[in-house]
Symmetry: D3
């Protein structure tokens, strides 16, 4: 493909935005991480509660779940507050279900004991990629919470089997790009969110054609980009 697309800040097509992971961003949660993908900022907290939802009661196993929210003015124009509207949008529910599944993919729930780990991912500022930042940050918060459980002697073995991170990729004006920011996301023909483990396995793959369908070749180009990006994120998580 010979088309070109000029990204902001001179970013290369296969380049992540600057990623910043701040642990201990708030004090009460067992894990609290502010993750930044460029101007996207998501606060991910991990809360441990000594009870499980009904479908796990008496199973000896724990549960890992996630909730997602966006502050009303995280976006360019103010969005309605979901608490005031009285319901979460379909988009919100889709994203929080995705985060929950992604985290559970790297947890051995039987080693967690009958307790629940809730990942709250709240977007402070949005500039594209909030769900992928949320997954990547939630993993770090979850790890911190697990380490506290280990330190407190509540569990003796870590239930975490592998790291997990996520990135978006997409085709804008025919050019495959890594880690879309908002203007790119709005303009893209195809948008794909990829969730992978440290070992390189796929956990979730969600590709959507926005206007123009995509081919197998394009998909492969996107997955190559995603693979590169996720390796870097996994590395950043472990160094955080």
């Amino acid at each position: 493909m010979t088309q070109t697309y000029l990204r902001s800040a001179g970013r290369a097509a296969n380049q992540l935005r600057p990623v910043r992971i701040t642990r201990g961003f708030t004090v009460h949660a067992e894990g609290s991480v502010l993750i930044e993908f460029g101007a996207t900022r998501v606060l991910c907290t991990a809360s441990v509660e000594e009870r499980v939802p009904p479908h796990k009661r008496g199973s000896g196993e724990g549960w890992v779940t996630a909730e997602y929210g966006m502050l009303p003015r995280a976006t360019h124009t103010r969005s309605d507050r979901e608490a005031a509207k009285g319901k979460q949008s379909g988009r919100t529910q889709e994203i929080q279900r995705l985060i929950g599944r992604s985290l559970r993919a790297v947890f051995d729930l039987s080693k967690l004991g009958e307790r629940t780990l809730t990942l709250d991912c709240d977007v402070i500022q949005a500039d594209g990629g909030t769900r992928t930042a949320a997954i990547t940050g939630a993993f770090v918060a979850a790890r911190d919470a697990v380490n506290r459980l280990l330190a407190d002697g509540k569990i003796t073995e870590s239930p975490i089997k592998d790291a997990v991170a996520a990135i978006s990729v997409g085709i804008v004006n025919g050019v495959p790009l890594l880690d879309l920011e908002y203007t790119e996301d709005s303009a893209c023909d195809t948008d794909m969110n990829v969730v992978m483990t440290g070992a390189g396995g796929f956990v979730e793959l969600q590709g959507t054609a926005e206007g123009v369908v995509f081919s197998r070749d394009e998909m492969n180009a996107l997955l190559d980009l995603a693979d590169q990006g996720i390796r870097q994120l996994i590395d950043l998580q472990s160094r955080a």
Copy 2:
């Protein structure tokens, strides 16, 4: 891969369940299709309304949207009725958003005029693959509704650019299978829903690892299966 998995009714790994498409299943809707993928039965109706949602008003363009529901006893055990609970589940919303996006991918909204086409996909009986049957059947119902608009002289050119169909694929006991039924869906390690056009482009791709992550090779095997299946479905749609 040398593992094997015996499917019910002696079905081959790359074989669709018997597909049946009944047009005109109910009389009031502009398009009304009962689609069956084996024991999965979904009633898809297409309703034309001469108004558009706020974001399309005055645009000269139409809108295509979908709603999904499941009768309480479509499933093995009775599920709560969403109308009685007072809200649609996250799963329901995810599915109806997926159906809507899939259908819009093959519509030129500017040729529809300022009217809305609503696809109601209601599951009468569930045995796996309800969302893929819904997309496949909704396309036929939409086409019937469009034909009525053409016949009535309300539009002069079809807004439908291509056919669209969907199928699920998954890995069960290490074996890639086409068109999962309920028992396979429950047992699978990886579950992927693929939406493609008649021309073979991807519209949506949603893969989820349930327990075990999946590799690039496995994904490719699944996409090959899906590609085969969707070609057959597109053919069945055009013959219906």
Copy 3:
């Protein structure tokens, strides 16, 4: 009365529409009946659950209840989906309460054991008389579910004391008619729904004047018609 009213399909004033009862319409429910009164089609499923609502807990008695729904495009123009609106209309609640009371009238709850029988009546296509078709069909579904409980040895004696069926009657242009279809229902001065047992006792009687009040004589003429119609329905139920 010397007025006349020409019914569609040459139907006589005291004639039911063609009634069709299809048992085993879906596979999962303990009882599953598609009932058709002319173009009105209602799917009635009976689900057995081994628990009772709070007011019956520990009583040794069971419970019989009903829920009613209408697919959005069961009607001439599309109605909003109640699950999407987040509440059931007053009409829906009235109807499902009526179905529940009608069925309980022929059940000896003490012989059901502490279990719940839920009748889900979902209108696939509406052309007047959905509530009466629902009651008539729900009884057949309930009977099938009871027979399964007997066959499974879960109960040793049938809790069903008698059959129950329902029909609408009304006065259109001064003419008393049996089993109103939609156009008649819209045009009628008086509309009455009658629920009776096999032994000919009244279970429910709901008459409403729409515009013009009705006299005692008119009511008697309507009840005579209803009595005839219900005898035929009871006969059809037992032969189904």
Copy 4:
């Protein structure tokens, strides 16, 4: 029938409880009536608003509607407040729809002009027969509101075509009784609510067998009782 039933306060089987109608019970509403059927007390207010619901806009016609509520401790034991629970029960909706239909039966909406008359019927104290007291009181409140519209010159001709009132009848221990109080209502085999006009026509008739079905003869005995009772109520309304 030779059975007997001793009513409280030596009341005869065909005797109404003391009825008291207090007009102008509150000051703000265009009509405000406290109606008492024995210990049952319902406040009925009629409010005039210079707008109509969407289905009447531009029709030149008005609308008459009703809402019903029960104070939490109107009953023997406290009921949950519907505003706190976030929804009106099926029973509440059934009753308010019945009140609305009953009042509309005696209104010529074209003479009301494009305005809405809302009847709020709030039960201060309940002892059986709240819906029949509500209809009977609401008519008086509606009449007062109409008289004010006439006095203010907003309409020149009354839209009220006839009076309307309602009473309950039922069979308790085999004895047909007029105007059931709570203990009778709880014990009755059959319960019927009858709404009639001043001219003696039926507006609504709702009979329900509670446990034991009822025969045509029993129904006729009940209607005779109701007819007597309603004549007295209509008389009391006109003298109020």
Copy 5:
């Protein structure tokens, strides 16, 4: 301050409206009081239930709580019914929380036993001061309910430590006034609700500047007025 303000009915600035307290207004509740502050009329019932909310279970202590409502036509123009809207307004919740806290301030919950006292305060007619009338009346209803518990031998010592009453004060056209009626409330610059005990201690103090801020001196003038008014109310309560 030399400004003057002429109150309706020749009322002095420091004069309460006529207060009327009717005990036993309805028959079912353990305490039932109609309280009138001029044209403001609030029905306060106290209901005893032999259970406590979760946070008190097993504590040996009871709970006192309140709910507040306004009949739709208690006001000059009709307000929407909260039960029909499906939620209580922020104002309603604020007021019922205030009533609950005010009552709890004079209760020793350990002497109530594990039971709940619910004060339902429903405004029959509104003319300003509904929340202060509600608190003042609810105390009398609560006292009656406690006396019944004592009479029934369910408790041996009264949990009531002191009386509690409330009044509004405000500055209208620069003049501090006691017990604002609706027209004064609408016109006032500052509005303050004061809740005090029989011993003269403050329980709640809520002052709001409507348009013009208020000074310390003005606040002191208002508190002097409130103090006077509440002494009179406490006296009226004890004589009721």
Copy 6:
């Protein structure tokens, strides 16, 4: 009073916690302020929208309103997410109404033009005093938004008449304290929130006795403390 109470970090009874005001904390909002009162951190954004609520349409005046929220893990133990529960608590509504009234007290709405200024106050971390921090921070965010309107030439004169700030005061173990942190708030006998303007007028005053009533003298001591604290906050606001 000779009692003593040792505050954390050696804080004096009349000493504020360290206050930090960070302007421009997020990039999209017209005003965005992170305010910290010790460990309490609230993000206050001001959003300008070119429309007003119905009661202001066509008035030529603008509107100022506020919404309040708390991230689920802002607190010691995780609280339910209000968006997931489907409604805002009474406490949330009380606080956001208080913030809105406080801000409106210093706005001349006629100078704002027909536009709405929405203050979103979201608690990132809670340690007592979230509502007073919210009011204090919201004022700074509102001022920034107003300055942008002035800079953009959308208004020519500032609608802000004075500054506004808020602080909590309370009596803990008999000692009046300024700016309660969480442990003090939980232990206090009396809790008062005071909102004042730069000119020293009261906007809101909300005092609540928690367990022990408070006297006029105690109230005066608390108001003296609040007055001191608010002067400092107003000073910090103007220097921010």
